[in-house]
């Protein structure tokens, strides 16, 4: 039976570096190629030697598909393509293709800045890798090769995020990447066809959570910022260049406008412009509200948010600053943090996840004294707040997507084992389908039962009807006989005659022959007559004829007699029959082997 194999190299029972291998219909596809920011050695990348030891990934992989620009989904891409070696196509949506290199560059710079970093890709490698990228449009089927096709669907989550359907023949898999089933300030909700894939590979970050409404979180965020500003404090919001930052900017901009607030809001230099550029360019990927109002006013052209300069950090009075990087581990955000940390009036709001070892991680976990530059200690007096704005589907959303796509099997990735196990039970109970949650390195094999659609010729159906069969009924399958023509990517069942005619072939007849040796001291002609008489007497009711060309015919069976000059009494009887008379033919040969009755 054909099967589909899924092996996560990353994101199997964890939220780390997403990298999932799928083998379907003889094709091998890599879904996402992410990095783990928690390591600073080779462990940050998936171990590609499990795919092939010889480093020639091109030989093994038919294509790579990247779901969105977050580094845990694309961060290992230049390493894989340029350092390990992959020359085949890499698919991602247009916005992802545009934004991905910016984030990779951003991370490369931070990484190079760090000590002890080894084996990291260069700027040139990022560019060379991006040259291998083939952009995808939503809902457009792309033919990777003659058999493999892919199609992207809107996933929400971040600008350009896509779910992707992979199809080989009648077998298919859908990979969701990260998705969000509820629209937010700038993006819409994920959507997919009722495409009934064999497997739906879905993220499960919030597998057990029913999240409070986004509005509540937004209110909470604004309240905290407002309170801090009111008491004259400064608010630092460490962010990554693109993504959540834009959502929070829209939020603050609207709030400032509504409340007529005067405190300045700043954004790290160079980033707003670049980000705005992409949001304008890919306006069709944002939500309906932004698209609608775009004609009157572009949401991303901010009135209150200005570019930040290093010297502003020392300005007196309240202010809000968005600064990179998001985990407070280097650069501007860390520099501002150091300046503001000692004042309890100030506040830092961490809007996302921070890896172990970063200042962000430490302060989120309540550390109040930080060791800086190997010796000095920084006292953290400012208020530390954590506000999750990451846009993932919650348990309800995941179930909603399953109802939308109606898959035959589910496979959970990108989540924690315990929570996955809970969701797995829930899915199996509610939908009565198998749900898998392989760990990294574990292969899940799902047997498929591919139905291959075949067109049937009208003549064949008519003939079937003439024989008195029931009318065709899709609910009651039955067997049909005919000749299968596989031509020009189509399969058709037709009558054998029609097949011969269409293909310009002539019919061939298959005949069996057999020689029987007889001791018969007569002339050849006499022996043939004796055979004729014998058969006539044995095979009553069969057409036995003695033909003028010295042959005897029984139905389609032809008999001839010959002998050699050396041994005239040893007769060789040659029998030949077509396969329809197989039984009669073997009966005759057995009969003649017994010899002719002497009485003849």
């Amino acid at each position: 039976m054909p099967d589909i194999k899924v092996t996560p190299l990353g994101a199997g029972q964890d939220v780390g570096r997403s990298c999932i291998l799928v083998s379907i219909g003889g094709k091998n596809i890599m879904l996402d190629c992410g990095m783990h920011m928690g390591y600073n050695d080779d462990r940050r990348f998936p171990d590609f030697s499990y795919i092939t030891q010889n480093g020639r990934l091109t030989d093994y992989l038919d294509c790579v598909i990247i779901s969105h620009f977050h580094l845990d989904h694309c961060g290992a891409l230049p390493y894989m393509s340029e350092m390990v070696g992959y020359d085949g196509p890499i698919y991602m949506t247009h916005p992802t293709k545009a934004i991905c290199p910016i984030l990779l560059e951003d991370f490369r710079k931070i990484t190079v800045d760090k000590k002890g970093e080894t084996n990291f890709f260069t700027s040139q490698m990022i560019k060379d890798c991006m040259k291998k990228v083939v952009p995808l449009n939503l809902h457009q089927t792309v033919q990777v090769d003659d058999e493999l096709e892919i199609k992207a669907y809107y996933a929400g989550h971040v600008l350009g995020a896509a779910m992707v359907q992979i199809k080989v023949g009648s077998e298919s898999v859908v990979y969701t990447g990260d998705y969000n089933m509820t629209p937010d300030r700038h993006l819409g909700a994920a959507w997919i066809d009722k495409c009934r894939p064999d497997i739906l590979i879905t993220e499960s970050t919030y597998a057990t959570t029913i999240r409070d409404s986004k509005r509540c979180r937004e209110r909470d965020f604004l309240k905290k910022v407002h309170e801090s500003i009111e008491r004259g404090g400064k608010v630092l919001i460490p962010v990554f260049a693109l993504g959540r930052a834009q959502e929070l900017c829209i939020l603050l901009e609207t709030f400032w406008e509504r409340m007529n607030l005067k405190a300045p809001i700043y954004f790290s230099t160079g980033l707003t412009e670049k980000a705005n550029h992409y949001y304008k360019l890919f306006i069709t990927w944002t939500n309906q509200k932004i698209r609608k109002t775009f004609v009157q006013r572009n949401m991303f052209e901010f009135k209150h948010i200005k570019a930040f300069d290093r010297s502003y950090a020392d300005n007196p009075g309240p202010m809000v600053v968005f600064a990179t990087p998001g985990m407070l581990h280097a650069g501007q955000s860390l520099q501002i943090f150091k300046k503001w940390a000692g004042n309890e009036k100030n506040m830092v709001i961490m809007p996302g996840y921070c890896v172990q070892g970063t200042v962000g991680h430490k302060i989120l976990n309540g550390q109040k004294k930080l060791e800086m530059e190997g010796r000095a200690t920084l006292e953290v007096k400012l208020q530390v707040e954590y506000m999750s704005f990451s846009a993932h589907a919650d348990a309800k959303g995941i179930m909603q997507l399953i109802r939308m796509a109606e898959p035959h099997n589910i496979l959970l990735v990108h989540g924690e084992a315990k929570k996955m196990a809970f969701l797995k039970d829930k899915i199996e109970q509610e939908f009565n389908i198998s749900c898998y949650m392989p760990a990294n390195g574990e292969t899940t094999t799902v047997t498929t039962n591919p139905s291959v659609p075949v067109d049937i010729s009208l003549n064949l159906l008519k003939r079937e009807m003439a024989l008195g069969g029931p009318l065709p009924d899709p609910k009651r399958p039955r067997t049909m006989h005919g000749t299968l023509i596989m031509k020009d990517n189509s399969l058709r069942l037709v009558s054998p005659e029609q097949a011969l005619k269409e293909l310009g072939l002539s019919e061939h007849q298959l005949r069996f022959t057999c020689r029987v040796h007889l001791q018969d001291p007569h002339s050849d002609t006499d022996t043939l007559s004796r055979i004729y008489s014998h058969l006539k007497s044995v095979l009553k009711g069969y057409a036995v004829q003695h033909l003028p060309d010295s042959t005897v015919m029984v139905e389609s069976i032809v008999l001839k007699v010959s002998s050699s000059a050396e041994e005239p009494d040893l007769k060789v009887v040659l029998l030949s029959w077509c396969f329809q008379d197989e039984e009669l033919g073997s009966f005759l040969s057995t009969l003649l082997k017994k010899g002719l009755p002497s009485a003849l």
């Binding site: 092996t7 964890d14 939220v15 780390g16 003889g26 783990h36 928690g38 390591y39 600073n40 499990y50 091109t58 977050h70 845990d72 020359d87 085949g88 710079k109 800045d113 760090k114 002890g116 700027s123 560019k127 060379d128 040259k131 291998k132 990260d178 993504g243 230099t269 160079g270 670049k274 010297s311 020392d314 581990h329 280097a330 650069g331 501007q332 860390l334 996302g352 996840y353 890896v355 172990q356 070892g357 970063t358 430490k362 976990n365 309540g366 060791e371 530059e373 190997g374 010796r375 954590y386 990451s390 993932h392 084992a417 929570k419 760990a439 990294n440 390195g441 574990e442 292969t443 899940t444």
Partner: protein
């Protein structure tokens, strides 16, 4: 071990063993293991266990716990293995009964933990850590652990099967010399250690291998073949011979058996065997097996086999491969060589990017063989055809460029070659610089830059480049819409002007410099700005003078120093480095036997000052990006060393009006902190606040200028450099920070931990 870490370790062990607390994320546990690995490599496990009783306590509590988290359990297995990696640690753990409880099959894994892949992986990893010495091998062989390991060879997890194979190969490797009795190094004592358990384990592994290979089930055969390939690569010759005898029969059956998924691992085994002495022993039948594989399979698989066989060097003539590749490349582009009659068989090859890319790669790599020289004309012809074909995919064109560069690197200059370059190659490149795809434009510009650099100093090439309209094409590309392309155009143009021997007309120079300055001032994407600075630096390095550049240096330093991209700043500092080198080295040193010319030094320093170089260095010294401040610090140290060498110049003459600059504040701050006695305006506190600096700045009694020497002195550059080399690990890698994080996380609410992007 650091005493602070020592004091934290007991609490960390307690937190890890407490099943009510959240386990730390797996990266923290992995990093903790890294630290233990370092510790055990410095000091053996025994002393660690003796000095840190909490470790043993931790292992006990994990073993006894019925609700242990699989992640923690897996961690403890790996840890126990590490601690037992040395004999002494091993003996202690065995004495305490830890090893039997943790590693012997009858113990804990019935609890259901075994179902968890991370636990199985941890168990194997622990074994792998431990199996480094004979007592551990003894332990392994005596306790029947091998059965479980062999079972894991067919595990669902790739990670587990791969680790299992490594362990099995390791066991064979360790035990075989002793079992075979030809271990020349072993003493009589060592020999005595070879118990019947060792023999039975090795026999079991080998029988298991031949059984696996004889199986009907592909899932069983596959790991068997993988193990065989590992053994053939890693183990000693006697073992290989013995093993080969065991497996030859099933291999012969497998060679005739058809099945897609087995062909690559079979070929991997045969390739490995072909690289051992087994290859030349007729009874081993390695070559015969290859033959069977090659001829008994369908086209696709035969190609795979053929490819593997070709990888074994020197088996086919390079000339033959070259001709075949060129023919294939011709077919792929739709040009059928007349020698190939059955043209109809290849329609699917036409336009097949995968084969085109691969073919061009091979074509390029042929250039390492001398025999390829005969193919040079054909090679260039086919490369040109690919470049000229309107259907060539961007990735294929890039491969064509790479192949062309390789062929250029081996060919000797000839009139034909230059005709080819100026007539054929340049005309197609000019078209590509205007291609609709940015990938093509960029690769073409990169190719031009690389070719120019490779043919540096070749006057025919330079002439062709400058007389063919190429320069104006490059100029146009500077205004490309894509930043990547602009940057490549800057680099190509820079290269073209660096390598030329032709006198450049001043107006062209001026035009280029002013264009690059515009790039520096206006570009928003950083790649072109970085490229522009690199070009300036390369121009400044060459002996000829670029008058236009010299006039613009101060603008370059000002723009580059104020850039928001730290790499642009780094490149600006590199430019400053070259300039400093150039201007200061013209001043003779005392060591060279001359009286150093005070005047010359002064002039040079004044020039650097006027061009804004010194300002740049001080500004960058306080940059928020470490590499920038580190580079600036290094340059200032260089400057200080120079000034010390020319010590009679006290530098007092060169004074900086620091209040004019925004970086001046930092210097003033340090100046005040260092020399509070000099000013009545500043209190005697250790720290000087910025508010106080403001007072200082306004105070008319304060000197507005500080001499360069004093500044360099006050800055304490050595200390700064030391700090900079320590810092910036803001992803703090110290074990102490790791342990603190583990302790803090354990008491956090769940929400903070689970979140991600």
């Amino acid at each position: 071990m650091d005493s602070e870490c020592l004091s934290l370790l007991p609490s960390v062990c307690e937190v890890l063993a407490d099943s009510k607390l959240l386990p730390p994320d797996d990266t923290s546990l992995e990093k903790l293991l890294d630290w233990f690995k370092d510790l055990t490599s410095q000091d053996d496990g025994q002393s660690l266990l003796q000095h840190q009783p909490c470790l043993l306590q931790f292992l006990y509590s994990v073993m006894e716990s019925e609700v242990v988290d699989p992640i923690i359990f897996s961690f403890s297995l790996k840890l126990a293995g590490l601690l037992a990696a040395e004999e002494s640690g091993f003996c202690l753990l065995q004495e305490k009964g830890v090893l039997v409880s943790m590693f012997v099959p009858d113990g804990w894994h019935v609890l259901g933990l075994w179902k968890n892949a991370s636990v199985r992986c941890g168990w194997l990893q622990g074994l792998w850590n431990m199996l480094q010495h004979p007592p551990a091998m003894d332990f392994f062989c005596r306790n029947g652990i091998i059965t479980l390991v062999l079972n894991l060879q067919n595990d669902e997890s790739l990670f587990i099967t791969s680790l299992t194979n490594q362990i099995l190969a390791h066991i064979l490797n360790c035990s075989m010399p002793r079992v075979l009795g030809n271990d020349t190094d072993s003493t009589a004592e060592g020999q005595a250690l070879v118990s019947s358990d060792w023999v039975s384990v090795t026999t079991e592994i080998m029988s298991h291998m031949s059984r696996s290979l004889a199986s009907e089930d592909q899932a069983v055969i596959l790991p068997g073949l993988r193990l065989l390939a590992i053994v053939l690569t890693q183990c000693g010759d006697p073992l290989k011979r013995l093993l080969w005898k065991h497996v030859l029969e099933p291999l012969e059956v497998l060679a005739i058996r058809k099945g897609d998924s087995l062909t690559p691992p079979m070929m991997a085994v045969l390739q490995a065997a072909a690289r051992t002495p087994l290859y030349i022993q007729p009874e081993c039948r390695v070559e015969a097996l290859m033959n069977v594989m090659l001829y008994s399979r369908n086209t696709n698989e035969s190609v795979l086999c053929a490819a593997s066989i070709l990888l074994l060097e020197k088996c086919v003539s390079i000339r033959l491969i070259g001709s075949a590749v060129i023919s294939l490349l011709r077919i792929c582009i739709g040009h059928y060589p007349s020698t190939i009659l059955q043209v109809g068989n290849f329609p699917h090859l036409i336009g097949c990017c995968k084969i085109q890319r691969c073919g061009l790669d091979v074509l390029g790599s042929l250039t390492v063989y001398e025999e390829s020289m005969d193919l040079i004309q054909e090679a260039f012809a086919i490369i040109l055809q690919y470049m000229q074909s309107p259907d060539s995919h961007a990735t294929v064109l890039k491969k064509a460029h790479q192949a062309a560069l390789k062929w250029f690197s081996i060919c000797s200059p000839s009139t034909d070659l230059w005709r080819f370059v100026s007539n054929d190659l340049f005309s197609v490149l000019k078209k590509h610089v205007c291609d609709g795809r940015w990938e093509v434009r960029d690769s073409t510009l990169e190719f031009i830059a690389q070719l120019t650099s490779a043919l540096k100093g070749n006057s025919e090439y330079t002439e062709a480049l400058h007389t063919n309209g190429m320069i104006s094409v490059l100029f146009t590309a500077l205004s490309d819409v894509e930043a990547y392309v602009q940057a490549s155009a800057v680099a190509a143009l820079g290269e073209a002007l660096t390598t030329t021997n032709l006198p450049l007309c001043t107006s062209l120079q001026e035009e280029i410099v002013s264009h690059l300055l515009t790039v520096l001032a206006q570009d928003a994407e950083s790649f072109p700005r970085r490229a522009a600075l690199k070009v300036f630096t390369s121009w400044l390095k060459i002996p000829q003078t670029f008058a236009a550049l010299d006039q613009s240096l101060s603008s370059v330093f000002s723009l580059g120093g104020n850039d928001c991209d730290w790499e642009v700043k780094i490149h600006t500092l590199e430019l400053a480095d070259v300039l400093m080198e150039k201007s200061l080295s013209h001043c003779p040193y005392a060591v060279q036997g001359y009286e150093p010319s005070e005047r010359c030094t002064e002039q040079a320093l004044n020039k650097l000052m006027d061009l804004g170089t010194l300002g740049l260095l001080f500004k960058c010294l306080f940059d928020c990006d470490r590499p920038v401040s580190q580079k600036a610090c290094a340059l200032l140290l260089k400057l200080r060393a120079f000034m010390k060498q020319t010590s009679h110049t006290d530098g007092n003459d060169l004074a900086l009006e620091i209040c004019r600059y925004n970086w001046g504040e930092e210097i003033l701050h340090r100046y005040c902190s260092k020399r509070p006695e000099q000013s009545d305006c500043v209190s005697n506190d250790d720290e000087v606040s910025y508010e106080q600096i403001d007072i200082v700045k306004c105070d008319p009694c304060w000197p507005k200028e500080i001499s360069l020497c004093k500044i360099l002195d006050v800055l304490d550059l050595d200390e700064m450099q030391h700090t900079l080399s320590l810092s910036s690990d803001h992803v703090i890698n110290s074990p102490r920070s790791l342990m603190e994080d583990i302790l803090f996380v354990a008491h956090q609410s769940e929400d903070n931990v689970v979140d991600c992007y």
